[in-house]
């Protein structure tokens, strides 16, 4: 069985007129003078991708090729590629399960890892972060306001074991209505939040909520999760500088999961109860945020269901005796924590 074709030997660009002999073991390629130019074993022959004419190559001699304008029976003889059955179903199912694994597995894994990290290591990390924040942000330092803040923090922390207490609570001068808990037991309240608060109980509620995050090591879990997300993003895009860039901002950018938030709400109510402060302040604060609408603060933005969180806090609140978180003058001093007292000896 002879078939006419054009052969390229991979040494020059020109065509060689050849005759192809179809044999049991493969193909013999013979030129016009009857010289044997090449022998291709059948198992090594493949079609060159997706051209209309039949073009063949042999894996042992990848630069050689054979062009057959009229392949005749050879078309049947060639090994065929088929799309595997169920390719699409398999692909879609595989992709869906991978997405699900990441969505559910990553939070679980990050929480588990966070609890494996020694507290001392986390505190060192917190100190590095704090050093950065001290440089970049204006920490409010009105001594009377700081006194009030410390008193409030101590009242809330009294019932917590020493390891779970925050190391530092500070107010940064920033108009955003926000509060963050950083890895290493540090809590930052933004002055915009103090401006919005109408009673000390509201500030106490938010502080208790952040203290609950700290006690349950959510900030570290969130940071680990965002490292995980960044690593995945890096792997997918191949851009490693994204990871380096996100390391700095990861602690602030890490959102808590929904489960973290409701756990923190629950524990915040406990902290407030133990301190004899009404949890309704936290509920009132949520309500006002809810009414403000579009300007959700960052620490709540991933959780639109403020109303249901508020109802839950109200339902958890016991009917015991409570006293205001701070007396009125202390509350005013706390709200003015970012106002520097007039000092004549000031050199700044």
């Amino acid at each position: 069985m002879d078939i006419a074709g054009l052969y390229r030997d991979g040494r020059t660009a020109r065509d060689h007129q050849v005759v192809v002999r179809l044999l049991g073991h493969g193909l013999d390629i013979v030129d016009d003078d009857g010289r044997l130019l090449a022998q291709w074993p059948r198992s090594q022959i493949r079609r060159v991708a997706r051209t209309k004419e039949i073009r063949l190559t042999c894996s042992s001699y990848p630069m050689t090729s054979l062009l057959l304008p009229q392949p005749g029976p050879l078309a049947e003889w060639l090994p065929r590629k088929r799309t595997p059955k169920g390719l699409w179903i398999g692909l879609v199912a595989g992709a869906a399960s991978m997405v699900a694994l990441l969505a559910w597995g990553l939070p679980l894994a990050s929480t588990a890892i966070a609890h494996l990290v020694p507290v001392e290591v986390e505190r060192q990390l917190g100190q590095v972060l704090m050093a950065q924040i001290d440089e970049g942000q204006a920490i409010c330092s009105n001594p009377y306001g700081v006194d009030s803040l410390n008193r409030l923090e101590q009242r809330l922390a009294a019932a917590l074991p020493a390891q779970q207490r925050p190391i530092r609570v500070a107010v940064v001068n920033n108009p955003m209505v926000n509060a963050v808990a950083l890895p290493g037991n540090t809590i930052l309240l933004f002055s915009g939040l103090l401006d919005q608060a109408e009673s000390a109980d509201e500030i106490a509620g938010v502080l208790a909520h952040e203290m609950a995050h700290v006690a349950q090591r959510h900030p570290l879990a969130a940071a680990i999760r965002s490292i995980g997300v960044a690593s995945l993003a890096t792997m997918m895009t191949g851009d490693l500088s994204a990871l380096a860039a996100s390391l700095g901002g990861m602690a602030l950018a890490g959102h808590y999961s929904r489960a973290d938030e409701s756990a923190a709400d629950e524990m915040a109510v406990n902290i407030l109860n133990n301190a004899g402060i009404s949890p309704l302040g936290l509920a009132a604060f949520f309500e006002r945020l809810d009414q403000r609408g579009d300007e959700l603060p960052e620490f709540l933005s991933s959780h639109p269901e403020l109303a249901s969180r508020r109802h839950r806090i109200v339902s958890l609140a016991p009917a015991g005796p409570t006293s205001p978180a701070l007396i009125w003058p202390e509350f005013k001093l706390l709200k003015n924590i970012c106002v520097q007292p007039a000092r004549k000896d000031s050199t700044r």
Binding site: R8, D9, G10, R11, T12, A13, R14, D15, V48, A49, R50, T51, R55, P62, M63, T64, S65, L87, L91, V92, G94, A95, M98, V99, V128, A131, Q132, E135, P175, M176, V177, G192, L232, M235, M236, T237, G238, D239, L240, S241, L243, A244, L247, G248, D294, E295, P297, E298
Partner: protein, 355 residues
């Protein structure tokens, strides 16, 4: 001669199908498939591209790209990342040495991108086969990276006026070191003829800078309150929208006109075995191609980037022509060694599409 030198006739269907399959496989494999996916896209597009009615063949393999990526990860990115993180920690600890460390790392990575781009082109050339012969890229990646660095430094020093001169110089270096088989290309493109159009581009950026300045400083000067996060986001979004709009309005046309002339100039001064080329893509065609590709890529979140590559290849083939067919008897395979792994650095940065 009526026969066209370059044609591209791939259908949309197979490219779309391959794009979606690659996307799904990327998810399943946490994107490790991308090296093999890219290889398949190239094989498909190359196979439908014909030069003097003979198709190109892409003989690269996904594994080569993957190994190149791993090497770049180990040799380039790990040290870079360590340097940046250590630098940041030093800065946090109040040591100015950290800034220097980060700066050195940034300059080094920039320099390495130049090397990576050159090596990527070398890989792509050696995997492109026509009539059984490989293309190739000689020259030194180091020289090219130094030229690129010089290009950027000069751009800053001359406020952009060195642009065409250095761009042409870089492309001449690329083309003069490109060969098919053992036959080299010659490129003697000058840059003087490009300056009229380049001046239009240069001046068209003035209104853009004005818009940028006014939109940034204006609200601050008027003492607008930007207290809430929503306000700040709105402020930044407005600036971005204004910049994009003004770039489209003022600079898109001059920029496209310049680039059309640039490639026309490059093609008409390039020869292969004494045969000349012409490239006649007009300004509007270029704008359509570029905007279309941008929309396709962005709206599909990058999934349909192969479709954009297909459009580019088709447009290039439609507008590039070669004066006559080369003498096939004179074209021989090169004896040069070919690189064994591919484009790691650039693949790692993901800055090249299918080409």
């Amino acid at each position: 001669m009526t026969e066209r030198a370059f044609t591209h006739d791939s259908q949309l269907g197979p490219v779309l199908r391959l794009s979606v399959v690659n996307f799904l496989l990327n998810i399943v494999t946490l994107s490790l498939w991308r090296f093999w996916g890219k290889t398949r896209v190239r094989a498909l597009l190359w196979g439908q591209t014909r030069i003097w009615s003979e198709p190109l063949e892409y003989v690269g393999r996904g594994g080569e790209l993957f190994i190149g990526f791993l090497i770049a990860l180990l040799v380039v990115f790990t040290p870079y990342m360590v340097a940046v993180v250590v630098g940041q920690l030093l800065v946090a600890g109040g040591q100015p040495l950290g800034v220097a460390l980060i700066a050195v790392a940034q300059i080094a990575i920039f320099f390495l991108i130049g090397i990576g781009l050159y090596r990527a082109r070398r890989y792509l050339m050696t995997r492109t086969v026509w009539r059984g012969l490989r293309a190739g890229q000689d020259g030194s990646a180091l020289t090219y990276a130094l030229l690129t660095l010089g290009h950027v430094v000069l751009l800053g020093l001359t406020l952009g006026w060195s642009g065409p001169w250095m761009s042409v110089k870089l492309d001449r270096y690329l083309m003069n070191n490109t060969r098919f088989g053992d036959t080299g290309f010659d490129c003697e493109a000058p840059s003087a003829g490009l300056y009229k159009r380049y001046a239009l581009v240069w001046f068209s950026f003035i209104p853009v800078f004005l818009v940028l300045a006014v939109s940034t400083i204006g609200p601050l000067a008027l003492n607008m309150q930007l207290d809430s996060q929503a306000d700040q986001i709105r402020y930044v979004a407005t600036i971005y929208a204004l910049i994009i709009a003004s770039v489209l309005l003022f600079t898109a046309l001059p920029l496209a006109a310049y680039h059309a002339a640039y490639w026309r100039n490059l093609a008409s001064h390039t020869r292969f075995d004494g045969i000349g080329f012409t490239f006649d893509m007009g300004t509007w065609r270029l704008i359509r191609l570029f905007l279309g590709n941008m929309l396709i890529t962005v709206l599909s979140l990058g999934i349909l980037r192969p479709v954009a590559s297909q459009r580019t290849l088709r447009a290039a083939c439609d507008h590039l022509s070669m004066d006559r067919q080369p003498d096939l008897e004179r074209l021989f395979a090169s004896q040069q060694a070919i690189p064994r792994t591919g484009e790691g650095l650039v693949a790692a940065l993901d800055s090249v599409g299918e080409f």
